[in-house]
Amino acid sequence: MFDQAYYKQLTRTMILSVVLVSFTPLILISGIMGYEFHTSYRNKVIEHLEEVVEKHKQIIDSFLNERLAEIRVLANSFSFNRLRDTKELQELLSALQGYHQGMFVDLGLIRSDGIQEAYAGPFMLGRADYSNAPWFKEVMRRKVYISDVFLGLRGVPHFIVAVRMESGSKDWILRATIDFVAFNQLVENIRIGRTGLAYIISKNGEFQTKPRVDVQGEIPAVLEIIAEQALPQADQTTKDKSEHVAVSVVRSTNDGHEVIIVTTPLKDGEWTLVYRQDASDALKSMYHTRNLGFAVSVLGGVAILMVAMWRSRRVVERIRQADREKELLNDQVIEAGKLASVGELAAGIAHEINNPVAIMVEEGGWISDLLADGPNLNDENFSEITKSLEQIKTQGTRCKEITHKLLSFARKTDSTLKDVNLNEIIEEMIDLSTQRARYANVHISSDLQFDLPGICASPSEIQQVLLNLINNALDAMDKDGGELFISSHVVDQTVHVVVQDTGHGIPQSNLQRIFDPFFTTKPVGRGTGLGLSICYGIVTKIGGDIMVQSTVDKGTKFTIVLPLPNRGEKPEANGDNRGCSQGETP
């Protein structure tokens, strides 16, 4: 019977196997699907953001170009002299404001020396000198110009759209101020999710619109992206969308979370439209799905684990039950084999007991004969009666010894492992078989190593093995008698017990089968075919072996090899450890 640790280990192995087989594909599929889903969803989100930003860029570009076009139309449609009329200019401003809901703040006509010739608007800027203003210089240089946002003379954020016109030898400039708040709203109009927002910065990183949250911490990263975007590309000739829109994922310096940043140049690269959104916000649905999948996997995993544990324990319990039944069956087979051995001995034993009984009966009869002579015994009769009584006692003791020997063998098999003195058992079995051997004309001799160390085995099982081999040997020599030689000696770390006869031998064709259950060459009713099979089972169970050599008409030699227990170590054989004191020779 295997011990508790074996079944625990078996349960663990089964649970581990089931869990591995179930979890490995689950983890692989989850991993691959999760990765593919993550990648494709992220790409979709980024593509979507690119498209949104691209469209927004077009809107802003259109807005600026339209404002510029309107100023150019005015400059081309009206002469300098007409525009220098403040009233005329005010009418034009009113018309523009009417069309664009106050998008235009003011209009101004500036001479080539930078002095404002005429002004229409809410500020007192008539005759203002712009000769040193950067935007004035840019207009004079470029002819058409949209400025960055600046405070200027009025002290509020604004930017201007200006065109330079040539009138004879003198140039003049028509400029309009665009309402910053309205432009800001236009830019901010792009809002996706909870954290998505857009803003514009200049090449120097100055805000051209006012973001609704603080994004100052992201500006260095944005400038890096802009710088990379400005580098000449190998396929620069291709004018596709990717040349205009760049996407990066950066880590915010504020709280370390990931931010998706999409940039695209405006105003020929002087401005950059920046769209930013927290990655967790942009990929919210993906994270939600991922968490849901993870929760389902965890729940599935727990369910698999519980089922694996439950099923494994049930299966192991059944295996344990089967082992118990097998063990019980083995014991019964061994018991049956033993009874068969006793049966084989029965004739010899019966005769052996019958003889002393017959002597006792005759002695009793003789005493009765003497007593029949009369109550007064003479010395001779008294002496005869005394001798007869002694004889009765002697024969009674003889009977007792025979029955004790038989009972010591026939008692129920105890498979508990003990330290066994092999020589004692060999001698007991020889004694038990002597009478049978005598009538079979077999001479038994032995050579037992006097200092043979003890082995760890079940004494009753070893008895059975030896008696079986002796019985077989006697059967083999039953007709003509012969020699039975039994020896014991140590070879390396094993004890060899040899049972050798001079019987009829075993044909080569049968040698391979003699340990098979139910294989017998004895006549029907005389052999069960279990004897050697049981011997083999008993010996191998304690880690030993049985070898056989046989020659037809010369005899057979069985060698039982039994392991010596390792001194200081717990003896175990095939996981069988049912007790055995350590390191002692019985």
Binding site: A350, H351, N354, N355, I359, E362, D369, Q391
Partner: protein, 142 residues
Amino acid sequence: MTRVLLIDDEQPFVETLAKRLDKRGITILKAFTGQDGLDVLVENPGVEVVILDVKMPGLDGIETLRRIKASHPLVEVIMLTGHGTVETAIDGMKEGAFDYLLKPCEMDDLMQKISEASMRKGQASARIDEAEAQLIALRRGD
């Protein structure tokens, strides 16, 4: 007096049974193996009945019986057997044994068998003697 040869490998049994039979007026010869018994028969031609144990080491009861019957066909043999070897004893009767008794046996039964066996031996001997006498007479031309 009837002369009986007792053959058994159990010496105490032979000795005691011999004393009891002797007390009943039977002349006893003893042997402890089959071969010894055959030798005693050769040396003592007057033996009428042999009491023979079936199970003996060496020459067993059946083989001894065969040889007795081969060399001394008129000698009657009573087989002694245990319960386990009754079949062998019956086989012995097929080989020419007079009868068999189970061991241990009642003295009265044994005496009865010895008496019957002795009588049969006597009758057989008488018939042979008579046949021999007739044969001799024929030869003489009476």
